[in-house]
């Protein structure tokens, strides 16, 4: 199956080469970080987690959202997602891999990372997070491999994989719940000390993940012969809509609790995010962009007829994805540190090395998605119409 990766159009190779360049540049900056230490980042004594851990949090959501195609297809036999299920799982594999890479680049002594398993510490949520993320990676790698091999042989997947697929459903929920537990059990950080953090993470995940999947499907539809079908896209758009509304509802609930209670340590973080504190307001433009993108996406998504148009739907998906990326990938983590428990306002902004290393990890994820999807679509080409393989490889121009 893997040989499919090595044949492709010039456009395919240009894309691969571009990703390789981004990965190479990021790797150079990572070597610099290894040499100098995490001081190359914008992090400091007061803001100890930043861009890396925020990307981890965001991508755990993307990984978990595979459940939104797996569950309807396998539990409810929802046929329209038949073509999507394995692609959703592949996306999960790529996203979890990125998560693990973001953990690795964030730790100060990466060569000691195995200490987490040499000295297993069940009272640490980070231990559990590493455990469930690795587990989810293994589950999805296995499921995609087995189902794809079966598909190539034109037979139904072996029976024994079914319970593993069912297990992957609650496991997907667990990875984002445990990731929320990293934050929401710390007395030192009132901004995260909210029981709604895990549900909110899941809601935003089930909006951002499917919106990304829609975008990838729409791109694949243009570049290849693959078409997930109108029904599947519409259903994903519907899922995105409900999840986005739920996400915004949860954020509103948090704000009510913070501001009606009038407890300073709960209010001040929201004030920092949206208005700034002590004249320091690095996140303010980002957060309002996120709010506007969220509202803009709803204008489209709440209108079923607008959702039918692929162009408008793509716009809405970009808005949903960027809104949640800003909220989770910048706002949620950084704001927990500002102000500090001592009431000090020290701001954080990622530095160039930090951004380049992060981009490289995203490029690795995109490379994985490209390779996986190419294999999957090639296998399908063989299955459906052996003669059309060449045409499938060659995108319409």
């Amino acid at each position: 199956m893997f040989e499919k990766v090595f044949s492709g159009s010039p456009r395919y190779w240009t894309w691969i080469l571009g990703l390789a360049c981004v990965i190479g540049i990021g790797f150079y900056f990572y070597l610099r970080q290894l040499e100098y230490g995490l001081g190359v980042t914008g992090l400091s004594r007061d803001v100890t987690w930043g861009f890396y851990i925020a990307q981890l949090t965001f991508l755990v959501g993307v990984a978990a959202s595979a459940v939104m195609v797996v569950l309807p297809y396998y539990l409810h036999d929802y046929k329209a997602f038949g073509k999507l299920a394995v692609l959703g799982e592949f996306l999960a594999v790529a996203a979890v891999t990125m998560c693990l890479l973001f953990v690795m680049v964030d730790i100060g002594q990466p060569f000691r990372a195995l200490n987490m398993f040499l000295h297993p510490t069940p009272n640490s949520i980070l231990f559990w997070d590493a455990f469930v993320l690795n587990g989810y990676l293994v589950l999805n790698a296995l499921i995609t491999r087995v189902t794809l091999v079966a598909e190539r042989k034109n037979e139904s997947p072996p029976k024994w994989i079914k319970p593993i697929i069912y297990l992957s459903i609650p496991w997907a929920v667990s990875i984002h719940t445990v990731t929320a537990f990293l934050y929401c059990g710390l007395g030192a950080r009132p901004f995260w000390m909210t029981a709604i953090l895990a549900p909110r993470f899941l809601a935003s995940a089930f909006a951002s993940g499917p919106s990304l999947l829609i975008l990838i499907m729409l791109i694949a539809r243009k570049l290849t012969r693959f078409d997930p079908g109108k029904e599947a896209i519409n259903k994903l758009a519907q899922i995105t809509t409900y999840a986005m509304i739920t996400n915004l509802f949860f954020i509103a609930l948090e704000m009510f609790t913070a501001f009606y209670s009038n407890i300073p340590e709960h209010m001040i973080h929201f004030q920092y995010m949206f208005f700034g504190v002590d004249g320091k307001s690095a996140l303010v433009p980002w957060m309002w962009t996120s709010v506007l993108a969220a509202l803009g996406s709803l204008v489209i998504l709440l209108n079923p007829r607008a959702r039918q148009s692929y162009q408008l739907l793509a716009t809405a998906c970009v808005l949903v994805f960027s809104s949640i990326w800003i909220d989770k990938g910048m706002g949620m983590v950084v704001t927990g540190f500002v102000p500090s428990p001592l009431g000090k306002v020290n701001e954080y902004m990622p530095t160039l090395p930090e951004v380049m290393i992060s981009l490289a990890i995203y490029a690795i994820g995109l490379l994985m998605v490209t390779v996986f999807y190419k294999i999957a679509l090639s296998v399908r080409g063989e299955v459906e119409a052996p003669a059309a393989v060449v045409a499938q490889e060659e995108p319409a121009r």
């Binding site: 995490l38 400091s44 100060g108 200490n115 069940p122 009272n123």
Partner: protein, 254 residues
């Protein structure tokens, strides 16, 4: 405790993890011998009492932090972003942010020394994924700089910002090397250890010994006749953010 037992527990832990034996692991984790054992047995609870009135007599004094940082090879980077510190002075509003009121500075202005509180329920120990930080039976919260992977979760969990991370190689920034104490490497967390190395030599912590105003008193809370217990009997003391249930063991006499 033999090395064999330690190694056995490690292997057993990993094996159990592989088969998903979470309940067994939890029991293992509570068995202190599977992590860092503790030699000092007996009824000891080390703590410190800081008399704010005495401390304030020496405005601008930094002898405690100077002595500590010299003793422990704490680097001085000269910028807030890379800063590493074990004990330093904060104003009242930052040391006690939730107790703040407009007229408080008229009575306790500070700045006052703050450091690791050696909590009875230390959140840093709870979150550490490698047992690189742990609480001894005498109450001291310790660090193993060779095991720490530098995830900084302990810094996220500490409500007192008592921990520092080595964002870069600290060694070139040590003013005066103390050959009797280890230096650290980049990428690990460090903090106050209540001068555990001096205590085992029968000496008081470096900050206590250096304090000109005799504002800092170190002792054993488990002993009702100790100096710290007397001070707490005679005066009224605050602890930093006690509402979080961390049970901090640095007491501030007001």
């Amino acid at each position: 405790m033999g090395d064999d037992r330690r190694r056995f527990l490690k292997v057993a832990g990993v094996t159990l993890l592989a088969v998903g034996g979470a309940p067994v692991l939890t029991t293992l984790a509570q068995d202190k011998s599977s992590g860092h054992g503790n030699a000092t047995a007996g009824a000891k609870r080390f703590a410190m009492v800081i008399d704010l009135k005495r401390c304030e007599q020496e405005q601008g004094c930094t002898l405690c932090s100077e002595a500590c940082h010299r003793e422990h090879n704490v680097p001085d980077f000269g910028n807030p972003k890379d800063e590493v510190k074990w004990i330093w002075k904060e104003t009242y509003e930052h040391a006690f942010p939730s107790e703040e009121y407009s007229y408080a500075p008229e009575r306790v202005a500070g700045p006052m020394p703050v450091m690791c509180n050696h909590c009875d329920h230390p959140p840093c120990v709870r979150v550490c994924p490698t047992k690189a930080t742990w609480k001894r039976d005498d109450g001291i919260v310790m660090m193993d700089w060779h095991r720490c992977i530098g995830c900084r979760y302990c810094m996220v969990a500490c409500p007192y910002s008592s921990r520092s991370f080595n964002w870069r190689n600290p060694r070139p920034f040590i003013k005066q090397l103390n050959a009797d104490f280890p230096t650290r490497t980049k990428g690990v967390v460090e903090k106050c250890t209540m001068c555990e190395e001096r205590l085992s030599d029968g000496l008081a912590p470096a900050c206590v010994a250096a304090c000109k105003a005799k504002a800092m008193t170190f002792g054993n809370l488990a002993d009702p006749n100790s100096e710290v217990r007397k001070l707490l009997r005679d005066g009224y003391a605050l602890r930093r953010n006690p509402g979080l249930g961390t049970l901090p063991q640095i007491y501030y006499l007001v």
